[in-house]
């Protein structure tokens, strides 16, 4: 009896501690969101979204930075997703498990911990200078792609690992080739988790300012980019610039900018989540 009671007490204690930790995390988020929304919502307007940057806080808008961020995200997704997913498929399904692959694995895991500004320096040398892409959206999105590739690779591999081997064996038993098995069975089955990883990776990329500034993103850009070679600014850069201005009205702009950034992030992720939902529905087993 007594033994059982202590066990129960332990159990309860752990539950309570867990509840407290999650509450603290959520409370921080709520405090942050409430203060941002209180400050920023009154500033949000169609004008704010469609205006160019300006030295007058009440006239300044977020249009070019927002367009820059949308361009960046689309391009980054185009570069990073196929490379990341295919790299993970190779490592997980094709690659032999030897010393070299072990080394590769450790390196990829380490890369996801490299400070983002380092990627900015790499992007500046490699893309902006060596490949002569300059201060373009291409430079920025390729830099961000490098930044999130490790995240995509690691999460895709986890997703692939979670597929039971019996599925692969069953497919081979029916005479399917390796590629057929991967393309028709494994990938669809893992798609949900892969997408989750991609969402996390893109959400990280969208909030980055430091690597973009190093790689040549600008702050005052009075025109929306029309092609991937155009110069650009991005939402986090504009927000950072506003927050460090002396005039208090710019801080309000920054709050409104943060709301726009949140909405853009939610929208982009929303597409991915809706797509994941559709995939799950299509899955027949």
């Amino acid at each position: 009896m007594k033994y059982n009671l202590t066990k129960k007490i332990y159990d309860r204690t752990f539950q309570v501690i867990g509840l407290i930790t999650i509450s603290i995390a959520l409370l921080m988020l709520v405090i942050f969101l409430v203060s941002i929304f209180k400050m920023g919502i009154p500033r949000l307007s169609w004008d704010f979204i469609t205006s160019l940057p300006s030295r007058f806080p009440e006239k300044a808008g977020i249009y070019t930075a927002m367009m820059g961020t949308i361009w960046l995200m689309v391009l980054t997704a185009i570069f990073a997703i196929p490379i990341g997913v295919m790299g993970a498929i190779y490592l997980e399904e094709y690659g032999k498990k030897n010393r070299f692959s072990h080394l590769l694995e450790k390196n990829i895991a380490n890369l996801s911990g490299v400070p983002s500004v380092i990627y900015g320096i790499l992007g500046l040398e490699l893309f902006a200078r060596t490949l002569a892409l300059g201060n373009s959206l291409l430079t920025g999105s390729l830099t961000l792609s490098l930044l999130i590739l490790p995240v995509i690779i690691v999460s895709t591999r986890e997703a692939l690992k979670a597929i039971p081997n019996s599925l692969r064996e069953g497919s081979y038993a029916l005479g399917a080739t390796k590629w057929q098995t991967i393309y028709r069975l494994i990938l669809p089955a893992a798609a949900g988790n892969i997408l989750t990883g991609i969402i996390l990776a893109l959400s990280r990329a969208i909030g980055e300012a430091a690597p973009l500034i190093v790689a040549g993103a600008l702050v005052y850009v009075p025109f929306a980019p029309t092609n991937p070679m155009d110069e650009y600014s991005a939402l986090p850069i504009q927000i950072f610039n506003w927050i460090s201005r002396p005039q208090a009205a710019f801080a309000i702009n920054a709050a409104a900018g943060i709301i726009v950034l949140l909405v853009v992030t939610f929208l982009l992720n929303g597409f991915a989540i809706a797509y994941r939902y559709r995939l799950k529905k299509k899955q027949k087993w």
Binding site: L52, P53, S54, R55, L75, I78, I81, P82, G134, N135, L138, I213, V214, G216, A217, L218, V219, Y220, V221, P222, F223, N227, P228, M229, E231, N241, I243, S244, R245, P246, Q247, A248, A251
Partner: protein
């Protein structure tokens, strides 16, 4: 997958098309001007670019803020047309320019004042001498100068709490050079932030605080801060302590805490008429625009001199071509 392949092909085509078509735009003021450099000068260049756009809507002026040093790296490779700088160009940066055949013109465009502030509830500080500031901020003061009465015996026996910019900031460089005598030489035990607004908050909420930062941050928070007039102990420059304001910064009686802000113009960009128009526009409009973004303009004769320098530089380089 198919969509991805198609999209990336489309991208390639667009890429090729644009990289070929970028060269031929020298007619009736179209084109692109690229400015980078100091984040301190940024608001001024942004303001000029914003106004310039009203006059020349076809010219795309964009401004970055990768820092004075980062900007000069790009400038010396002729990757940018104009570099914003909160300090004069350094020897090694000049060398880098020469190596790439870049000649440049340095133009002073405005002053940035620095203020020393205390909390409004601080009743004892009426002024500070430069020597006292040095005593407070010198590296030797670390861990030693901790109380107000160590600076002047009649001040209270209370702790002094220091606030200042982080070591990456140009304000830090300039303040340490002007006060301690050597750039970047400062005590380390103070509350540092790269964001001057954080310093404003700190001093505003701490009765025992003393801090320094840009004049614009004081002018936008006058109700929360008390500014300290500075005595440079140089009788030639007026007796006693001087308050910082537009006039004293401009006529340099508020010394030594005001610094000039510069733009550097790349000789390789001079052939482009849109760059010429922009520099002229910059010099013509600074006097009105600098105060709007929190800086102090030069007096009008100084801009005239700058314009003469500019014309000379322009002639020298356009005749060669």
């Amino acid at each position: 997958m198919k969509i991805i392949v198609k999209l990336s092909m489309l991208l390639m085509v667009v890429l090729l098309a644009t990289s070929c078509g970028n060269k031929s735009k020298q007619n009736t003021l179209k084109g692109q001007i690229l400015i980078d450099g100091s984040s301190t000068v940024f608001p001024l260049s942004e303001a000029v670019a914003e106004e310039f756009r009203h006059t020349y809507p076809q010219v795309k002026v964009s401004v970055g803020e990768s820092g004075t040093g980062g900007g000069f790296k790009k400038f010396s490779r002729a990757e940018t047309d104009i570099n914003d700088a909160s300090r004069a160009i350094r020897e090694e940066e000049i060398a880098a320019c020469k190596e790439n055949g870049v000649d440049f013109l340095e133009l002073e465009v405005a002053y940035d004042g620095m203020v020393v502030v205390v909390n409004p509830r601080n009743t004892w500080v009426k002024d500070l001498k430069v020597s006292e500031l040095k005593k407070i901020w010198a590296p030797e003061a670390q861990g030693k100068i901790m109380k107000w009465n160590q600076i002047r015996p009649e001040w209270p026996d209370k702790e002094i709490h220091l606030y200042g910019p982080g070591t990456a900031s140009g304000t830090f460089d300039y303040f340490t050079e002007a006060i301690v005598g050597k750039a970047k030489s400062s005590r380390g035990d103070y509350t540092a932030s790269e964001d001057d607004n954080v310093l404003v908050q700190g001093v505003a909420s701490d009765e025992l605080a003393l801090g320094y930062f840009g004049l614009a941050y004081y002018e936008n928070n006058k109700d929360k801060l008390k500014v300290v007039p500075i005595d440079d102990e140089n009788p030639a420059n007026g007796e006693g302590a001087t308050y910082p304001d537009a006039k004293t910064v401009q006529n340099k009686t508020y010394a030594p805490l005001s610094r000039p802000l510069f733009i550097y113009i790349n000789s390789k960009s001079l052939v482009r008429p849109e760059v010429q128009a922009f520099v002229e526009f910059y010099l013509d409009n600074c006097i009105a625009l600098a105060p709007q973004v929190g800086y102090v303009s030069l007096d009008s004769t100084a801009y005239k001199i700058a314009k003469d320098q500019w014309n000379e530089f322009l002639q020298k380089h356009t005749q060669k071509q």
